[in-house]
Symmetry: C2
Subunit: 316 residues, 2 copies
């Protein structure tokens, strides 16, 4: 970094955001809620910010990255399951036949999820995710998956934290999958990572106390599940929430219901050159109802193409 760049990043907390309406709204909101002596001032303990992950902090195309992990994990576990060579959907996974995998439908995907995610010590599962994260590469960018994160959103989290906010991840992804890497990537400690949560049992039969992940879901952290996850893990409504799909709409409603002023942010995927362009009819990250409502209610919309001068740090 040159001296000039350093000066610019000191004076501009969001250097990867282009000047304009979106950036102005974010900065004006933060100034408003942190200026003492006004009725909009929000005490530090109520400055809760919640971030969806897939499509909001990191990319989610061509498929959710957690599904890439699941598919890779089937291969890791295959030597213990010789029967998978001849059983679908595992056969297709092992043969890198994605059409065959998709042909197995929801039932097949559930089998893949169970085989890769259930009936395992939570610590061992996180270790498996860490190993994967250290070795797997995104097919388009040839980067580790946790490098395929949005630089402007990292800056936004740093900016909020510098202004007394406490940031949380509230992800539809599995809570242990997230916790295996998100602290390092986003600087958010594991107790501030909320995600979809499976049933669990405590096991101390061998004198090595541990928690085992079971089939069955305690929290599906999308749609209605996001406010419920926030309620359970945080116990306060956010004043700032960011998402990218209709699955975040309830979280944004819940944020909007805060008695304090609040900012609702949608990341809109509009850049097919640097990232992807998708919204209303996308099988992943559908943003339809939410987009209409965001426009009608003047929520903040980050238009990736226009508002971000950098998408990924590895572009530079």
């Amino acid at each position: 970094t040159t001296a000039e760049q350093e000066t610019s990043s000191i004076s501009d907390p969001l250097p990867s955001w282009n000047d304009g309406k979106t950036k102005d709204e974010i900065i004006a909101f933060v100034k408003k809620v942190t200026t003492e002596g006004t009725q909009d001032f929000v005490p530090v303990e109520d400055r809760i910010a919640t971030f969806d992950n897939d499509g909001t902090l990191w990319a989610e195309q061509p498929i959710y990255f957690q599904l890439f992990f699941a598919l890779d994990q089937i291969k890791v576990l295959a030597p213990e399951h010789p029967e998978w060579k001849t059983t679908e959907p595992f056969k297709s996974v092992l043969e890198d036949d994605m059409k065959g995998v998709l042909k197995s439908g929801k039932e097949g995907l559930l089998k893949i999820a169970m085989a890769s995610h259930a009936n395992i010590d939570a610590e061992d599962f996180k270790s498996a995710v860490k190993t994967w994260m250290a070795t797997a590469k995104h097919p388009r960018f040839n980067q580790p998956y946790n490098a395929v994160v949005y630089q402007p959103m990292l800056e936004l989290m740093t900016y909020l934290e510098a202004n007394g906010f406490t940031n949380f991840i509230v992800s539809g992804g599995d809570i242990d999958f997230m916790r295996a890497w998100a602290t390092e990537t986003y600087g958010i400690p594991s107790h501030r990572i909320v995600g979809s949560t499976v049933e669990a049992e405590y096991d101390n039969t061998d004198g090595k106390a541990s928690v085992i992940r079971l089939p069955g879901v305690v929290l599906a952290d999308r749609g209605d599940g996001k406010p419920i996850g926030i309620y359970r893990h945080i116990g306060k409504k956010p004043i700032f929430a960011a998402g990218n799909s209709d699955g975040d709409l309830e979280m944004l409603h819940y944020t909007d219901a805060n008695a304090h002023p609040s900012l609702k942010l949608y990341v809109h995927h509009t850049d097919e050159t640097r990232e992807w362009a998708y919204d209303r009819d996308s099988p992943i990250g559908e943003l339809n109802k939410g987009l209409d409502e965001a426009m009608a209610k003047n929520w903040t919309i980050a238009n990736m193409k226009n508002d971000w001068n950098t998408v990924f740090s590895f572009e530079k």
Copy 2:
């Protein structure tokens, strides 16, 4: 405070703890895990401390304070339920007939719990608890319930925090009941308060997004439930855990399984003059198996009578 007292509290981080084995063990542990360059050093992000509440941070006699709240809340709600005047267990509650309440058995207590805790907006429930906390008094000490907290344990939490620990409450009490007052009392933010958790549903039918408490339990935060609650909310094993009953034993086992050095602390109720004396056969806070195991494994035991020169700050 005199200058002498101030000097003493600066040099002694635990002034309400008498000098001796227990205090030495705590201080030696904290020095050990915070001294860089040794194999016992624990990085700040892994310095997780978990505290049971009832009987560990505040008193739990003659009955759990949350039960006092439930009984008082029945009286608050009674005008909306004229039928309670003639229906047990409510009739006995309204007539201050504790024998009648107890005669209704577990089924009666469950009815009281449901009527006072379920099918209510979580925010409204917390407001009810706050109102109760601001007005109700403990029958023996004539103090607000959140003043009936152990001064030595408050000092311990402050001491740990000053040494880079992150403190959590892991209580068998209801998570919303705890969150209504524990931040103010212990200085622990709501997202670091774990407790027993009920089913919940998201409701936005009237455009006022909220979460409604339902009957049914998602987490019974005692016994096996404590490590599961720690796993779900924190995602790391503690290196320091404090409890007072057999219901904390699994939490202490889970802590003991940490790859880092750990300290397991039992608060032992031995002071019938300043507080209460109870352990092996107490219907509340039974400490039997845990006491044997703590002694056999040389865990740390705070003997309230001998180790604490002050129990409650209002004694002074």
